[in-house]
């Protein structure tokens, strides 16, 4: 969507902001679902709240005074905050992605100013780190289970698309999006490869689901990323819709 320029339109911005709220729901739920409700959780919250509150100020100071140094102190500061809060979250039985998402939220204003830092982070993330994440997520899928559970996978896909449709589509009409735009919004809100994969891996890592169940869920997530996007781009692309074929399905993150 970013590459088609649609993110610069009002509709695109509303879709992105709604995806953001949707993803926030996911990480918060993952964060609280299996957290141990003990002193570590209290400590995690007691440390996270002031760190999240202070991070934008400290990061801004680093950005103003340390930017352009060869030793990249502002990147190290960010990685320190991500790993430190992530470590505390794991100690509390929660998930490291919860503080990461919240840090992203509080740093959003700063990163709008500092696009060079975003470029560097994206280079590190998509050049080195996320390939290991997504390829590993793929290696855990059992092809034998895809075949034996094909029916369940299709049903899960159907449930996801149906629940998204009956919940999002009426709202797009209430907010007076056009028919075409409403359908486009509904279909794009039906995807979510990155957070679906993170959630499934979370379940696998915590022993909540096994490899076969993981296979079913991730395969349904993959299909839910592909099918609605193809339909949205093919039939409901809002006008003007001069979209080069090679930009279909690309996004802010490598997600759709």
């Amino acid at each position: 969507m970013v590459e088609t320029g649609l993110n610069e339109t009002d509709l695109g911005k509303v879709i992105l902001a709604a995806c953001f709220v949707n993803d926030l729901g996911t990480v918060v739920l993952l964060g609280v679902l299996v957290a141990n409700y003990d002193l570590w959780l209290v400590l995690f919250l007691a440390v996270s709240i002031p760190v999240l509150a202070l991070f934008p100020k400290v990061a801004r100071w680093f950005s103003d005074n340390m930017s352009g140094r060869v030793s990249e102190p502002e990147i190290k500061l960010l990685f320190l905050a991500l790993l430190f809060l992530g470590g505390l979250a794991v100690a509390a039985g929660s998930e490291a992605v919860l503080p990461a998402y919240l840090l992203g939220m509080v740093a959003a204003g700063l990163l709008v100013r500092d696009r060079v830092m975003v470029q560097r982070l994206r280079a590190m993330a998509f050049g080195l780190l996320t390939p290991f994440f997504f390829i590993r997520a793929g290696t855990l899928i059992l092809l034998s289970a895809v075949a034996s559970s094909a029916g369940v996978i299709i049903l899960f896909l159907g449930v996801k698309l149906a629940t998204k449709f009956i919940s999002v589509h009426p709202l797009t009409q209430v907010f007076a999006f056009g028919r075409r735009e409403g359908m486009y919004t509904t279909l794009l809100m039906s995807t979510g490869l990155t957070f679906g994969t993170i959630s499934a891996l979370f379940g696998l890592n915590h022993g909540i689901i096994d490899r076969e169940q993981y296979t079913v869920l991730v395969t349904a997530v993959i299909l839910s990323a592909v099918v609605p996007t193809l339909i949205a781009q093919a039939f409901f692309q809002p006008q003007p819709a001069a979209v080069p074929a090679e930009t279909l399905l690309e996004e802010v993150s490598p997600d759709v």
């Binding site: 509303v14 740093a107 390939p131 997504f134 029916g151």
Partner: protein, 133 residues
Amino acid sequence: MPSELDNPQALAAAWMALALLASLISIRLGISVALTEILFGVLAGNVFHLQANEWINFLAGFGSIVLTFLAGAEIEPGVLRRNLSQTMAIGIVAFVAPFVGAMTFALLVVGMRRQRRSQDWRSLPHPWRWSTP
């Protein structure tokens, strides 16, 4: 594979080769690179029995952290404020409805359920089980 090649650099090279190929195919076909990387992972895991080890798990975990951070940082607070009712309403129902729907489906229809009630079910090795659909 010769044992001399059982070193971190050679292993990382194999993973990076998959990642590069996945990028090229995603650009060529115009599909998300996350998708092609997962599919290459499926192929490598099932056909060549590629497995992660401790440092690969760390890189993957750190990848999910930085990716989540970047996703959180994409928000434009101004847009969220200006369209607050629309974005909140669509975002919340788009999260809650599939969550409730998929959970109900998993519990009631497919038969994925918690094995037994326990005060501290988190300590159970597999608190949920998948029974025959």
